[in-house]
């Protein structure tokens, strides 16, 4: 049993910065929202907070609307939508399907994150098939 786990402070700092910028907040704005000094948040973002206090890190996570699990990067935090639009184009065909079916941004985000056996659809019809399959599954009554 590996009881000595290390905290990746650099990754933690990068995640905090990424989520803060995704919300369009300055350091001061995040500091105000979570009730922690701007200097401490800056230290966190730069990986200089030593052994960080869990209460403070939790306050930052809460302000950024994520769990500690997501903040630590031990799960994959979803990039903020604004950031996704800036930094990452939607996969081919998905934008066309969104326009055709007037899909919500949440639906598009959900589809964009999906893989099927390690592959993603490459065109509009592939995305349509995946969406219809998902809808069928979600409408199916629970089976034991």
């Amino acid at each position: 049993m590996n009881d000595v786990m290390t905290l990746d402070l650099v990754r933690l700092g990068q995640t905090i910065r990424s989520l803060r910028l995704g919300k369009g907040w300055s350091l001061s704005e995040l500091a105000e929202k979570c009730g922690i000094s701007k200097a401490y948040i800056s230290d966190l973002e730069n990986g200089n907070a030593g052994k960080p206090n869990i209460q403070y890190v939790y306050s930052v996570a809460t302000a950024l609307e994520v769990t500690l699990d997501e903040l630590l990067g031990e799960s994959k935090p979803k990039p903020h939508r604004a950031e996704r639009r800036k930094s990452e184009e939607l996969p081919p065909g998905l934008l066309e399907l969104q326009q055709e079916l007037d899909l919500t941004t949440e639906d598009v985000e959900m589809l964009a994150d999906m893989n099927f056996r390690g592959h993603r659809p490459r065109d509009k019809e592939g995305w349509r098939f995946l969406l219809e399959a998902l809808r069928m599954v979600s409408q199916r009554p629970n089976q034991k």
Binding site: M1, N2, D3, M5, K51, I54, Q55, T67, L68, D69
Partner: protein, 327 residues
């Protein structure tokens, strides 16, 4: 063949856990490993001065869960101590644990830890589960719930820290101090005295009742006395064949070294000369006694009234907590 039958009875969440572990480890070890990992993850942070509920809030968040009290108006009529509502995500925000703030602190804490332990099971990804602290007298808790209690005990009272705090004083007399240190319920702390004991020990809850079979027979006789006219004996003869209520085993928790052959099976009664029939309220009684089915092996038996009594408990025979360790 027997193996298949056993597997069929297993909770699907437990089967999924064992399969996810490669099928080489038992469910108990896998749950304990997950709980220890979570505690190790928490210890990466500076965390001085946190209350038990604060610690659980952070641990829940490390597990991708948020923690919140139930709506006050609802909780007054709420029988459940805690409920977990999962949203199906495997990572990230997995869901929320709602706890009943009207319950005593230790009970809230153990219930929340129990719900966290549900997320150790890979197939627990949707729906809601709930927990009631008071033991049901209708049937033994299922394997999944017992494993979640095991995980909750490890999250709340990590074995090594618990053993260090006990400092050799393995007795129910230590419970108040340990409750203050770990913030768990008295009941769960008594059980932890057994599961963390570095030797042969057991603890559990005893209820004063008949066996389930006799309860059903008696109910039938009282409801349909005329049916007995056509039977082989009279009502009084039939009733005389029904054993009197006794203190019978309800829940059972053991140390790692406890031999399986010592297990006190569900329904098994304690001898009527045992101190379990004599202990009064607000006291702990102790004597040298064997467990009911291990007459050749004596040990120290300690008993007290259970802090939480079921609504239908007999006033003269309240539920009892026992703690036994081999001499």
């Amino acid at each position: 063949m027997n193996r298949n039958r056993t597997e069929k009875r297993r909770d699907p969440d437990v089967v999924a856990l064992v399969e996810a572990g490669g099928g080489l480890s038992d469910a108990r070890s896998l749950v304990l490993n997950q709980a220890r990992k979570l505690n190790a993850s928490y210890r990466r942070f500076e965390s001085c001065g946190n209350t038990t509920m604060e610690r659980l809030k952070f641990i829940a968040s490390l597990q991708g869960l948020t923690l919140a009290p139930m709506n006050i108006e609802r909780s007054q009529h709420e029988r459940r101590d805690a409920v977990i509502i999962l949203n199906g995500a495997e990572k990230g925000n997995k869901g929320q644990i709602l706890y009943n703030p009207d319950r005593p602190g230790g009970r809230q804490a153990f219930s929340v830890a129990h719900e966290i332990a549900h997320t150790f099971f890979p197939s627990t990804s949707g729906g809601a589960r709930f927990r009631e602290m008071t033991a049901s007298d209708s049937q033994e808790m299922n394997e999944l719930e017992r494993l979640c209690d095991l995980g909750a005990a490890e999250v709340l009272m990590p074995k090594e820290e618990f053993q260090a705090c006990v400092a050799g004083n393995w007795s129910i007399e230590s419970v108040e101090y340990l409750v203050g240190e770990f913030g768990s319920s008295r009941e769960a702390t008594v059980f932890r005295l057994a599961s963390a004991y570095p030797g042969v020990a057991a603890a559990g809850l005893l209820c004063f009742r008949r066996t389930k079979g006799d309860q059903a027979k008696l109910k039938s006789l009282l409801q349909y006395p005329q049916a007995n006219l056509f039977g082989s004996g009279t009502s009084s003869q039939s009733i005389s064949r029904i054993a009197d209520p006794k203190y019978r085993r309800q829940s059972f928790h053991t140390s790692d070294d406890f031999p399986t052959s010592y297990t006190v099976r569900w329904n098994k009664s304690f001898d009527e000369n045992s101190i379990v029939y004599r202990v009064g309220p607000n006291e702990v009684m102790s004597s040298i006694e064997p467990l009911p089915n291990v007459m050749e092996s004596e040990g120290t038996l300690e008993v007290m009234h259970a802090p939480y009594q079921r609504e239908d408990t007999d006033n003269e025979h309240p539920d009892i907590l026992f703690y036994w360790r081999a001499a």
